[in-house]
Amino acid sequence: MTGIEIEGVSRWYGNVVAVNDITMSIGPGVTGLLGPNGAGKTTLLHMMAGFLPPSRGKITVAGQPSWRNPGMFRTVALVPERDSVYAFLTGEEFVLATAKLHELPDPQGATRAAIEMVEMTGAQDRRISTYSKGMRQRIKVAAALVHDPQIVLLDEPFNGMDPRQRLQMMDLLHAEADKGRVIVFSSHILEEVERLSGTIQVIVGGRLAASGDFRAIRRLMTNRPHVFVVRSSDDRSLGAALIGSPAVRAVELTGGGLQVLASDYGSFTRQLAGLSRDHGIRLTEVLPADESLESVFTYLLAA
């Protein structure tokens, strides 16, 4: 068992419920925990990392209970959100100390490899107190990866990173996931999750609001019409033809083409090509306009 199993987990502090009856399975690949600030994703991540017990339910990580189980960290790594590391140490000393605490057979070699992975070789001999926020994040990731963990948990890992560093970190996490690792990260930034995750878990108000590929999530929301932008050789005629279809709820002629609200995703996509061919209209572009994570997130929050 290499993944994370979360069964009916809740966590409360007095009258405040931070996580409410969440059940999920997380396997190899990159999984993003997405939600607004205060949604419960960090609480959930800390429970996976064994730094918070569930008030109810069970969490197992790589087949072991997460709570009160330091041995779990032989195969698990945590990159916490808080900026604090041992600022008086150099980057190299910090990663090396972590390697030694993991009792690695070649701590110096593992340290060198981990620091190279996060492109911090040039700054490794400087004290962490002199690092920028992005550099601190990278050295924390190096310390987390030094023992080659099977499961990596990251809390808001891109905080403080510039766009280039963010892309580089995403490439790194993708590469690690491709090796079969379980990578879980939390974020409130839609673009980060959209770009990095294969699977997302949307957490809103402590509850699991949606789970899976965000495109699949969107399609499950049949109560909301799907929005498409369609460009063709004759938008007006195409619009007139589409409005007669029961799969189409509304059509708007805009400067950039047609905006179509389709009540039935499957029927509309099947009918569109035939309808345009029957009317002698050439389709030049068909784009789903609301399959971005932002629209899914907004819908889920509103719900």
Partner: protein, 245 residues
């Protein structure tokens, strides 16, 4: 015990605790104690209080516990407060090893900054090989172990600011005031366990050691072990609170 002590944790804790500023802060009481001893010895002060009562009361219930408080709450509390402890706890190292390693550093530093100056002060007053000097050294070393066991337990159990405040109340009210005024309170006083051990060698009634040697050693070991055991238990249940919906 030595198998529990982790060299990496010891080195990190030493570097974290002994910043230049903190080293100066810790050195001050020690310098004060040795300075007072030198002054009183040089002026040939005659008093039944000097040196045993002053070195006993002042040394054991003020200088030593305050030094141990600063050190004992720093070795663990500072890392808990700033969150850096998470990097240590997110490794397979046993919590008992974390506590044992930090405890070892705290005891060593307290001996260096409080127990040794206590000995030096007594040595200046009575001679390096005097029963008083040797006794006070033995008692202060024992008290270093006991006070740090208590303050590490406070650090593991309370929020960092509260651990220091609680420790200060303990030192000032319990050790400094009540244990010297109310004989029954001495039975639960780390300072008086140390004094009992000191008196077993010094054999000086001016030390006001209310407890017998056996009681001091027995209670000291029992309470010290209890504090360390509870500290390990508390650290094993260390939590980071996440965001709250």
């Amino acid at each position: 015990m030595s198998g529990l002590i982790n060299g990496v944790i010891v080195r990190i804790t030493l570097r974290a605790t002994m910043s230049r500023r903190r080293a100066l802060l810790l050195a001050l009481p020690a310098i004060l104690l040795v300075g007072i001893s030198a002054l009183l010895t040089a002026t040939a002060a005659r008093s039944t209080s000097w040196p045993p009562e002053i070195l006993g009361q002042f040394g054991f219930t003020v200088v030593l516990p305050l030094t141990a408080l600063i050190i004992g709450t720093s070795v663990l509390g500072a890392e808990i407060e700033d969150g850096s402890i998470v990097h240590l706890l997110a490794t397979p190292v046993r919590r008992a090893s974390v506590i044992a390693s930090k405890y070892a550093v705290a005891v060593a530093l307290t001996i260096a900054f409080a127990a040794v100056p206590e000995y030096l002060a007594a040595a200046i007053a009575k001679g390096a090989g005097s029963k008083l000097a040797i006794g006070l050294l033995a008692g202060a070393v024992a008290a270093s172990f006991l006070y740090n066991a208590l303050f590490i337990f406070f650090s593991a159990s309370l929020r960092p600011g509260r651990a220091l405040a609680f420790g200060l109340c303990y030192v000032v009210l319990w050790e400094g005031l009540l244990s010297n005024l109310v004989p029954g309170v001495a039975l639960l006083s780390m300072g008086h366990y140390g004094l009992a051990i000191a008196n077993s060698i010094a054999d000086d009634s001016a030390l006001h050691a209310y407890l017998s040697t056996g009681t001091g050693i027995g209670m000291g070991i029992a309470l010290g072990a209890l504090c360390i055991g509870l500290g390990i238990r508390r650290l094993s249940a260390f939590t980071i609170k996440g965001d709250i919906a």
